[in-house]
């Protein structure tokens, strides 16, 4: 199948940069010019044809094709080997439960966090170590940026247009992390916990607020570490949104050692957080939100998680430091995390 996107003939690369910026097609950083040759190579990287369907965004009913995603992946600096992750992430964006339209249009200012699992992490030399949440390697940066450009160019998510974020956060530029599966043994990878078979790579997409870092380096007791984590989650429930939804917690090696030493699994962590991350509406009085506390709701109890399975436990981070990150949801249950296997269908 030939490429079908409209072509533009532009004088030179400097002119390409200027035209794409003027048309609102870039995030402001330089792009790689999406020539037909580069786009064809990108598609070949994942064995896609140009008109292969990645998904239909359900609110605007927009058909997202491999060709258009590949154009944006080229612009973001992706290599063809990255494209299976980008294409799968685009499919995840189209799942109704993610509600990408609401998440990206909301004043709440979330970003789409991608967590990559499986063998493709090593094929792309993705790092799960130092600065894991901040674009630790080439592939993570480019894949995250490609998805951001897809949102911008295919779904009109531009600041001040469809993107009505009051503040947003830096993850909106690019946010992709590979889980440290090998270093987390015997924990199961996130994707495996969410139904993806062993040996299959996968992407989990999550509409997420900015990460909130905690530190507890003064204990070898898992309960102490999780008590700090829960305090941060409860803080989010009071200061941001009280509604239950997916939360992610990212644990580095030093804190994982605490759990491994005590024999705690990811399931044990999820259950603890589910049981303890609870606030009452009356707690809002102490944080300046008394206006929405009344006699009829003050004793109402709110959990952070609808169920223990709604906590996404991710292993990542540099070897030293008792730092973890709590990543809250965009807005409670309005958007659910989605896990998509890469290159295979596991339920068809």
């Amino acid at each position: 199948m030939p490429l079908t996107a409209e072509t533009l003939a532009i004088g030179d690369d400097d002119h390409v940069q200027r035209v794409f910026l003027e048309r609102g097609w870039t995030d402001g950083l330089p792009i790689v010019a999406p020539t037909p040759e580069r786009v064809e190579a990108m598609l070949a990287g994942a064995w896609f044809g140009p008109d292969d369907l990645l998904g239909v965004e359900p609110v605007k009913a927009r058909v997202l094709t491999a060709e258009k995603a590949a154009i944006n992946a080229v612009m973001a600096g992706c290599l063809p080997a990255d494209f299976p992750v980008v294409a799968t992430a685009v499919t995840a964006l189209c799942r109704p439960e993610l509600l990408v339209h609401g998440a990206t249009a909301s004043t709440g200012g979330c970003a789409i966090l991608l967590v990559v699992n499986g063998p493709i992490r090593q094929e792309l030399a993705m790092s799960s170590a130092h600065s894991a949440l901040a674009g630790a390697d080439r592939a993570s940066v480019c894949i995250g940026r490609a998805v951001r450009l897809v949102l911008r160019n295919l779904l009109d998510v531009r600041p001040g247009e469809l993107d009505r974020s009051t503040l947003g956060h830096p993850g909106k530029l690019s946010w992709c992390v590979a889980e440290d599966e090998e270093g987390a043994h015997p924990w199961q990878p996130l994707a495996a916990e969410r139904g993806v078979p062993d040996g299959v790579s996968a992407v989990t997409a999550f509409a997420a607020s900015g990460p909130r870092q905690i530190m507890n380096e003064w204990t070898t007791d898992p309960v102490d570490v999780l008590t700090t984590v829960v305090a941060e989650i409860k803080s989010t429930m009071l200061h941001y949104s009280i509604w239950a939804g997916n939360y992610a917690v990212v644990f580095p090696p030093q804190l994982r050692a605490v759990f491994h030493g005590a024999g705690w699994s990811k399931a044990d962590i999820r259950q603890f957080v589910y049981d303890h991350a609870v606030v009452h509406r009356s707690d809002w009085e102490a944080v300046g939100k008394a206006a929405v506390v009344s006699d009829t709701n003050r004793d109402r109890k709110y959990r952070a998680l609808p169920s223990p399975d709604d906590l996404l436990v991710v292993a990542a981070g540099g070897e030293a430091g008792g730092f973890a990150a709590v990543i809250p949801p965009w807005l409670g249950p309005k958007s659910a995390a989605v896990t998509e296997p890469i290159g295979v269908c596991v339920d068809c």
Partner: protein, 92 residues
């Protein structure tokens, strides 16, 4: 000269045509659709009062979306077809 491909969505569906605007609000049925946030209520209360008192509309129908982050549900859109004018708004 470099040949590059457009990265944005290329519209394939035929553009929608706008409906005719009513010449007056007097005697018309007006719909007000709130996104469901609390601050939309006093704003639309005031708007309804203005519509009834100053613009002499026949009726004001107030509806609230089930999910303020998602499009209006099908039943609400079907009902809106019967209104001469609709106001929709957020209440952050």
């Amino acid at each position: 000269m470099i040949t590059v491909l457009r990265p944005d969505y290329e519209q394939t569906a035929a553009p929608l045509s706008l409906t005719r605007r009513p010449l007056t609000l007097a005697g018309a049925t007006i719909g007000i659709v709130s996104n469901g946030k609390a601050n939309s209520r006093p704003f639309f209360d005031h708007l309804e009062e203005l519509l009834r008192r100053h613009w002499h509309v026949a009726d004001v129908v107030r509806r609230t979306k089930a999910n303020y982050s998602a499009p209006a549900e099908r039943e609400l859109i079907d009902e809106a077809v019967r209104w001469a004018v609709m106001f929709a708004g957020v209440g952050d």
